[in-house]
């Protein structure tokens, strides 16, 4: 059925794209699907200049899950996607990625050893690392007391002193990751009890949370609207540039290490061109340009040398390898059962009202009310239907 729907949609898209295609018959269009605000735009222009017969069609997503649902729906076809490691392993498991011919990507030699043979792609067949980073706790030193950040703990996010000034991730994987880590559990826990506990901690936190956001964090932290938030290290760096009061740390409980990698989808018709693109993005100068703009850590050893040393020596953006080994955890693709649990718990968290804090068991009146509303509307609909048809009969006679 999904195929059927995608067929309809692709027919519609085809109709529209015919006119476009007519102009560029011998042009190859390369569809690149990447995170928002995650590239230096001019590098794409440079690529197109270098390979005049390739047009890059660059589009963005704002979460791994959104990207996944878009590609499985078949609503659009992409050649290159840049998901995080746990999504890479999910795509590999579901046989959606094409094996990359590394001989076409000579620049792969610049990728550091630490970023090869990742757990998500142990045999190194499907992915080329693009950026990596950690999740940090960001705070505004103008409003947050030095004492409260002294122990560099995730508890800051649960500190009632800052009620209404705390932001939280609006995606379950990151939020649960933080909550699980704070309780001393693994982010990839398969234990239902641990997930329940983490969910309980999040629902206790909800009354002091100002908002659940993703990219809106930039605005809210820069303006001082919110004072405390967890986010990705590269972005924290960008926020700091526009508000010098912003500081951040890696929590002592540990944090998430993510590696976003370039992959080629199996459905591609332009694998050669896609490999050219990946190779181009691994070019040290290009990778350095990207790293400068997005602020994330580059896995490209040569590019790192080209960067401003104040960035590369920043222990939070580029933590050393020992630290990474001991204090960080990489997301793995959760088993189906845990994923469903996560989805249910997250929805429950979002449904409860902030005032209540937790869903009380005494919702019986709501049940009665719902049944009454449904019953009344059904009865009245039936009543009016019968009355109408009777009336019509009378008219007809």
């Amino acid at each position: 059925m999904k195929r059927f729907m995608s067929l309809i949609i692709s027919v519609c898209i085809l109709l529209v794209s015919f006119s476009v295609a007519a102009f560029a018959e011998d042009q190859v269009v390369l569809n690149v699907y990447n995170w928002g605000e995650y590239i230096e735009q001019s590098t794409i222009d440079m690529f197109e200049e270098k390979y005049p017969d390739i047009d890059v069609n660059y589009t963005t997503f704002d979460s791994n899950e959104a990207m996944y649902s878009k590609i499985v729906s078949g609503a659009a076809s992409y050649d290159i996607v840049i998901p995080s490691e746990y999504m890479v392993s999910k795509l590999i498991q579901e046989d959606m990625l094409a094996e990359i011919d590394y001989s076409n990507i000579p620049n792969y030699k610049y990728i550091g050893d630490a970023y090869r043979n990742l757990a998500s792609d142990p045999e190194n067949k499907y992915s080329v690392p693009y950026f990596w980073g950690t999740v940090v706790v960001i705070y505004n030193s103008q409003f947050v007391d030095e004492e409260d950040v002294k122990d560099q703990s995730l508890d800051l996010l649960w500190n009632e002193k800052y009620a209404g000034k705390i932001l939280m991730f609006d995606n379950p994987r990151d939020s649960f990751g933080i909550s699980l880590t704070r309780l001393g559990y693994s982010m990839n826990s398969g234990n239902e009890k641990e997930w329940q506990e983490a969910a309980k901690a999040l629902s206790e936190q909800k009354p002091i949370v100002q908002a659940y956001v993703m990219d809106a964090i930039f605005d809210k932290m820069e303006s001082g609207e919110a004072w405390i938030a967890p986010y990705y290290a590269g972005d924290a760096f960008v926020i700091q540039e526009s508000n010098p009061d912003i500081k951040f740390y890696i929590a002592k409980e540990g944090t998430n290490l993510f590696v976003d990698s370039m992959c080629i989808l199996k459905t591609t018709e332009h694998k050669k061109e896609a490999e050219l693109f990946i190779n181009f993005m691994c070019e040290p100068e290009i990778a350095a340009m990207n790293a400068e703009t997005v602020g994330y850590a580059t896995p490209n050893t040569e590019a790192k040398k080209l960067l401003d040393p104040t960035i590369t020596e920043n222990a939070i953006v580029y933590p050393d390898e020992d630290y990474l080994k001991n204090n960080t955890e990489v997301f793995i693709n959760l088993p189906q059962k845990t994923q469903m649990l996560q989805s249910t718990l997250w929805t429950d968290l979002k449904i409860i009202s902030a005032e209540e804090g937790s869903e009380s068991a005494s919702l019986d009146w709501i049940d009665i009310f719902c049944i009454a509303v449904v019953a009344i509307s059904v009865i009245s609909a039936v009543y009016f239907f019968i009355r109408n048809s009777r009336r019509r009969k009378l008219w007809n006679q």
């Binding site: 059925m1 999904k2 729907m5 309809i8 519609c12 979460s63 899950e65 959104a66 996944y68 649902s69 499985v72 209404g164 609006d170 995606n171 379950p172 994987r173 909800k206 949370v209 100002q210 908002a211 659940y212 956001v213 809106a216 809210k220 303006s223 001082g224 609207e225 959760l334 994923q339 469903m340 996560q342 989805s343 997250w346 929805t347 979002k350 449904i351 009202s353 902030a354 919702l363 709501i366 049940d367 009310f369 719902c370 509307s377 059904v378 009245s380 609909a381 009016f384």
Partner: protein, 286 residues
């Protein structure tokens, strides 16, 4: 009507029929199909039954949309009335002013409210600096990320849809009818309740429909102005289709939309009973 003109008529409606088929009938059929099947495509009722756990979300969505609709109605009716009593030239300008905000992108308008309502936003900053001038301590109002902010966003964004149909109906009411009522001894209140209001019911009903339906199914207003603290039914549907929670499930998502659609249809059906002469006076959506 002879055969030729009938054929012509049919040919002229063909584009719309095709449009309807592709973009209205097929999507609704797909929603129906997904709502009653499981992931493997076999028939099941479990999607529809699983919706019971979202009843509190339905209630919150309907409650907020209802409040927003009532506020829209209270704001729109007097405004529509006074516009309809103006000179034709002024009427045009006023209608243009009502439409003006709609020329801007919906998202940008909503983002603008975000910066107005924030704790460090326009209103609070102005109030704070004003009150500290007189030596008062002022903490600021908590406006953003509340249900009130969501209702405000709904009212602001959908108000024109309430004003325009009421205005259209009111301009059609003959002034001499009102004069006649006054001649026959009706006071202002009676003119309103006995003459104006009954005749403007079709406009009110289509206004309510056009405000309530988008308000009850919105998800972006609750996300931006509600800060993701209150989930509306639209948010849950979005999650099921986009898999934001890590679970893509078209079936439950379709069932949720179907139930919402049925609820709306039923309430519209009930409301249309108040509009007994909609068929004769026109102006209504149904």
């Amino acid at each position: 009507m002879n055969k030729n003109s009938k054929g012509l008529q049919r040919a002229m409606t063909a584009p719309f029929t095709v449009w309807m088929a592709i973009f209205i009938i097929i999507p609704i059929a797909l929603v129906l199909f997904y709502a009653f099947t499981d992931a493997n495509g076999s028939f099941t009722l479990s999607n529809i039954l699983s919706i019971w756990e979202y009843k509190s979300t339905y209630i919150v969505s309907i409650e907020l949309a209802f409040v927003a609709t009532i506020i829209c109605l209270i704001l729109a009716y007097p405004l529509a009335y006074s516009i309809s009593r103006m000179k034709a030239r002024h009427q045009q300008t006023m209608v243009l002013l009502v439409m003006l905000p709609m020329w801007m992108n919906f998202l940008i308008r909503t983002y603008a409210w975000m910066t107005i309502l924030e704790d460090t936003g326009l209103i609070n900053t102005l109030l704070k600096s004003f009150l500290t001038l007189f030596g008062y301590e002022f903490e600021g109002f908590a406006m953003i990320n509340t249900n009130g902010a969501i209702v405000l966003g709904m009212v602001y964004n959908f108000l024109p849809y309430m004003i325009l149909p009421i205005y259209t109906v009111l301009t059609k009411i003959d002034k001499s009818v009102i004069e006649a009522a006054k001649d026959l001894g009706a006071n202002g209140f009676n003119v309103f309740t006995k003459v104006l209001l009954p005749q403007s019911v079709p406009g009110i009903i289509s206004g309510i429909t056009m405000v309530f339906v988008p308000a009850v199914s919105t998800f972006i207003i609750s996300k931006l102005l509600g800060g993701g603290m209150t989930y509306l039914i639209g948010d849950i549907i979005e999650n099921y289709f986009l898999g934001n929670t890590g679970e893509v499930n078209y079936n439950v998502g379709a069932a949720l939309s179907l139930v919402l659609m049925v609820l709306i249809l039923i309430s519209m059906g009930i409301m249309n009973r108040f509009d007994k002469d909609a068929e004769t006076s026109g102006g209504g959506l149904f």
